[in-house]
């Protein structure tokens, strides 16, 4: 145990985490330098075939330190975005220390701070690392200053490096050995292991990544998950170097994988405690939470024939993403689809991108929604994340919506604009800090619904890219939520319905009308577009018809040319969705999601 170090790298997005990890793997010489590239590539091909990525969640780096001793360094990866903060916290709970990576040019950002706090909560040894010192815009002195004033850390404990060029790597590895304490734990006690990740392997089922705190686990053991109370027989345990490397057992202090014939990733809860069925530990390890989706949207195939394919793709995707949820949903306008739950908007983007890229599906996403809570006359409380299930408004006695605490960091000169944005987004209870001269840390409590709309894009815009953002869900608060319907020629487009705050409804309705007017091509007849709350029309616009499109000549028996032209148009129309008699292009649905900046 004394020769083991468990650590993570935490960083704001794009501060160079993966590059640094790559360098460390390379330096550790898991394989010899000359064949490094080939081996990585070979391995990647195999991994790709199996549908998992080389970027394992935990990789073991053997390292021969300056003191001449062999060390086992377990690098535990963390997802790099606010949507995944719970996963990050479980990874950190499995470590004794972290490398806090800071971009030498960009300096400390909101996520740097958020990550630092999280690491402090877990009482971890923190090693600040200043990356990208090779950049012409690198300002190491300034970053040192920020480390002191904004992070409250001793800047002289920080290590400079350039992951890109490979400079400073050895010092970092040495610091890990010297400064991060070895794991503690009793190998003789009952097994207590923390699951911090799991992924799906088509040949072996779910592969669990865990950190053993007490006891030991080996092939043949029957293990139990404390929260789900399910039991499995362990098939194999081991460590992940560049490929899985089987071991006899994992014991206290170790980080490694466990394969136990578990079918899907959803059968495993991140943060759950693994113990032996026969001699269980006293209680679960602390910090368990069920990862619950907070943002919901419906996904529809553009071509209804693709529904089955979409279903298969979602199943497959779900194998590797336990926090993603989906269930059948259907829309009059868009046909059969699925209501999906996401951890946040980025998570949604990731899923959308993967469905489109990896599964080659053309999909339409409905307007994302949060989960609202309604109290009905009957006294019953219902949670609604899908406008299709909005309760009868006459029965609603109270409505509540989820609030977050948003933390933003940005240069002082943008304060006015950011405050204005936050107020516009119904922000409240602001607190303002000046962690260092010229920099602002601003916290606001605001509805989650406002954030998923277009908040982050706009924050980026008004701070010219310097603003960073992080958030935590805090609670549900009283609100006034209405259902905004969008009607096209009198037909409700159910996929465009949104649950919104009453004060927002008119603006949102107008915007939807305008967007649709821009995106829906003119047709043979007039198209009326309306926004409505119940029977009350709150916004409207019309698209005037085109009146002449016929080409005069259709002659000489050359019917083919004309047909081909029309077939092309017809194909274009097929890619649109018919609502009543109006063809709505996919771009119209997408446009509704985005709003204009003021």
């Amino acid at each position: 145990m004394n020769n083991t170090r468990n650590f993570s790298i935490i960083a704001h997005i794009d501060h160079g985490k993966s590059t640094l990890a790559d360098r460390m793997i390379q330096y550790a010489g898991v394989i010899d330098e000359r064949t490094f590239k080939d081996q990585i590539l070979d391995s990647m091909d195999i991994e790709r075939e199996r549908g998992i990525t080389i970027k394992s969640q935990a990789i073991t780096l053997p390292y021969c330190a300056r003191d001449g001793k062999e060390y086992i360094l377990n690098l535990i990866d963390t997802p790099g975005h606010v949507d995944f903060s719970y996963e990050v916290s479980r990874s950190l709970a499995s470590c004794e220390g972290v490398l806090l990576l800071i971009d030498a040019a960009q300096g400390v950002q909101a996520q740097t701070v958020a990550n630092l706090y999280m690491a402090m909560e877990h009482d971890l040894e923190i090693i600040p690392v200043i990356n990208k010192i090779d950049l012409p815009s690198a300002d190491i002195d300034n970053v040192m200053e920020q480390i002191d004033t904004e992070l409250g850390l001793d800047p002289y404990t920080s290590l400079p490096c350039s992951a890109k060029l490979g400079t400073g790597i050895e010092d970092i590895l040495e610091a890990i050995v010297q400064r991060i304490p070895p794991p503690e734990g009793n190998p003789e006690a009952p097994l207590a292991g923390l699951i911090f990740d799991a992924h799906y392997d088509p040949y072996r089922g779910t592969v669990i990544y865990g950190r053993i705190f007490d006891g030991a686990v080996k092939g043949g053991d029957t293990v139990r998950f404390v929260h789900t109370q399910t039991t499995y027989k362990v098939e194999e345990v081991g460590r992940f170097l560049l490929a899985r490397q089987k071991k006899d057992k994992l014991s206290a202090g170790d980080v490694g994988y466990i394969i136990a014939g578990i079918k899907t990733v959803s059968d495993v809860n991140i943060g759950d405690t693994i113990t032996l069925d026969a001699t269980p530990c006293e209680g679960p390890l602390p910090g368990f939470k069920e990862a619950k989706p907070v943002v919901f949207a419906s996904v529809y195939p553009i071509a209804s024939d693709d529904y089955e394919e979409l279903a298969v793709a979602l199943e497959k995707y779900k194998l590797n993403d336990a926090s993603f949820t989906f269930q059948k949903d259907s829309s009059v306008a868009l046909g059969q689809g699925f209501r999906c739950g996401f951890l946040g908007l980025l998570h949604l983007d990731i899923v959308q991108e993967r469905l489109e890229r990896e599964y080659d599906l053309s999909i339409i996403l409905s307007v994302p929604s949060v989960k609202y809570r309604f109290t009905l006359e009957s006294g019953e409380t219902v949670d609604v994340d899908n406008p299709a299930y909005f309760p009868d408004p006459t029965m609603i006695t109270a409505s509540n919506e989820p609030y977050i605490r948003a933390t933003m960091m940005f240069p002082e000169c943008y304060l006015g604009a950011v405050m204005k944005l936050c107020r516009e987004k119904r922000g409240d209870n602001s607190t303002l800090n000046y962690p260092s001269p010229g920099r602002i840390e601003l916290a606001f409590e605001m509805p989650l619904a406002e954030v998923i709309y277009d908040f982050y894009d706009r924050l980026k815009t008004i701070t010219q890219g310097y603003g960073s953002f992080d958030y935590d869900l805090i609670d549900y608060r009283a609100s006034d939520i209405v259902l905004l319907d969008i009607l096209v020629n009198g037909d409700k487009v159910d996929a465009l319905a949104q649950m919104v705050h009453r004060d927002r409804a008119r603006a949102r309705g107008l915007l939807a009308c305008e967007k649709l007017k821009e995106e829906i091509p003119r047709q043979m007849f007039k198209i009326a577009i309306q926004g409505a709350i119940g029977n009350q029309i709150i916004s409207r616009t019309t698209i005037s018809p085109f009146r002449k499109d016929v080409t005069a000549k259709c002659y000489g028996g050359d019917i083919t040319r004309k047909r081909k032209l029309l077939e092309k148009q017809k194909k274009g129309k097929k890619r649109m969705k018919m609502v009543g008699n109006v063809a709505i292009p996919q771009s119209a649905f997408v446009a509704i999601l985005k709003s204009e900046t003021d």
Binding site: K548, A552, G556, I559
Partner: protein
């Protein structure tokens, strides 16, 4: 109008010669007339090639190019070849396109004598400014004279081709041309809004930004006004661009194109259709002649039409005509129940006054004809 009369195949002969190229035209033609004898020989050989497949034609359409570039002798040769190899019944509609500049009395009388009973005259406009803009080689006065001569020569079925919506043209000027045309009580009028095709002189002018095309609103006005004036004058707007003084004067030949009736097209760039297959000749006179000299059919390419394609063609062609689409016939022939599949949208189109649905026919209204392209995408 019964369908049986149209079920007999039609014959089209493309005469690929013009004295000069009009600035808007993209039909295939050449201005060097030295090859005419070669062409006529090749045409005769091509005619013979199809004897195993065709026997009787009840329409013959000699188009171009400018067929009136040929001499009476040359036209006689074509007619006699056709008659020697195929049957043209006495009731056959035999049409020739003529340029007003070529049409003297003797020429027209000779056409009559040959049995040609339908004459279309490429008047295009009675406005000399428009004629010169279009690059026509004749004047309005020549057109008037040609029309008078045609009557004198005994033609009882005369059609005029007119072009409207020329850049800069005021609608009043166009109405003058229409009024002038009506004074000749032609049996048939084809009125096209000018389409500027790539590869033509006007197309190049457009590309260089020297021209602008009429916007949709203007096109709509011209289209509606034309239809109104001619229908008020008693003409039937039987197809997007075609008007007949009586339904019996609608072009029987062109209707074969629109109804999937077989037709044989001879000469360069001509299209043919039979047995659900459409094929077309090389758009090159030299290639046409050399292929035939080498004993080959001068076919550039062909396509076999799937049922879907046939159905779609029938839909878009049918919706360009006043006859419209007979729902039962459509079901029988193309195995598609229009009302069953598209009832809802059809009802909307009726409500929007774009089509009518009467006696089992879906018929575009005047406003419907103006958007016939989109109608067919229903």
């Amino acid at each position: 109008m019964t369908d049986s009369i149209h079920d007999m195949p039609g014959l089209y002969i493309h005469v690929p010669y013009c004295r000069s190229k009009c600035k808007y035209c993209n039909f295939y033609s050449v201005t060097n007339t030295a090859t005419i004898p070669h062409f006529l020989t090749a045409l005769e050989t091509e005619l013979a090639l199809y004897r195993p497949s065709f026997d009787t034609f009840d329409t013959l359409y000699i188009g171009g190019g400018t067929p009136s570039v040929l001499t009476i002798r040359q036209l006689e040769r074509i007619m006699s070849s056709v008659r020697t190899m195929y049957t043209l019944p006495g009731s056959a509609e035999i049409t020739i396109e003529t340029n007003p500049g070529d049409a003297d009395f003797d020429f027209m009388q000779a056409l009559r004598t040959m049995g040609i009973n339908r004459l279309t005259i490429g008047v295009q406009s009675f406005d000399n400014d428009v004629l010169s803009f279009l690059g026509r080689r004749h004047t309005a006065e020549e057109a008037i004279s040609a029309l008078e001569t045609a009557r004198k020569a005994g033609f009882e079925n005369v059609g005029l081709d007119l072009i409207s919506c020329v850049p800069g043209q005021r609608i009043e000027k166009w109405m003058d041309t229409l009024d002038r045309a009506l004074t000749f009580t032609p049996e048939h009028l084809s009125c096209y809004e000018l389409t500027i095709e790539p590869g033509t002189a006007l197309g190049r002018a457009l590309q260089r930004g020297l021209l602008s095309v009429a916007d949709e609103q203007r096109q709509y006005e011209f289209f509606m006004k034309t239809s109104e004036i001619l229908e008020d004058a008693g003409y039937i707007h039987y197809e997007v661009s075609n008007f007949a003084r009586d339904i019996s004067f609608s072009s029987r030949h062109n209707q074969k194109y629109w109804n999937h009736v077989p037709y044989l097209g001879l000469g360069p760039a001509a299209h043919s259709f039979a047995d659900n297959t459409r094929w077309w000749n090389h758009r090159s006179l030299s290639r046409y002649i050399s292929d035939i000299d080498n004993g080959n059919r001068p076919i550039d390419d062909s396509e076999y039409l799937s049922e879907d394609q046939l159905r779609f063609e029938a839909l878009y062609l049918g919706l360009r005509t006043k006859r419209g689409i007979n729902i039962n016939d459509f079901k029988k022939r193309y195995h598609y129940d229009l009302y069953g599949h598209k009832g809802k949208i059809l009802d909307t189109l009726v409500k929007e006054c774009l089509i009518t649905n009467r006696n089992g026919y879906i018929v575009p209204t005047r406003r419907g004809l103006a958007v016939a392209d989109t109608l067919s995408l229903l």
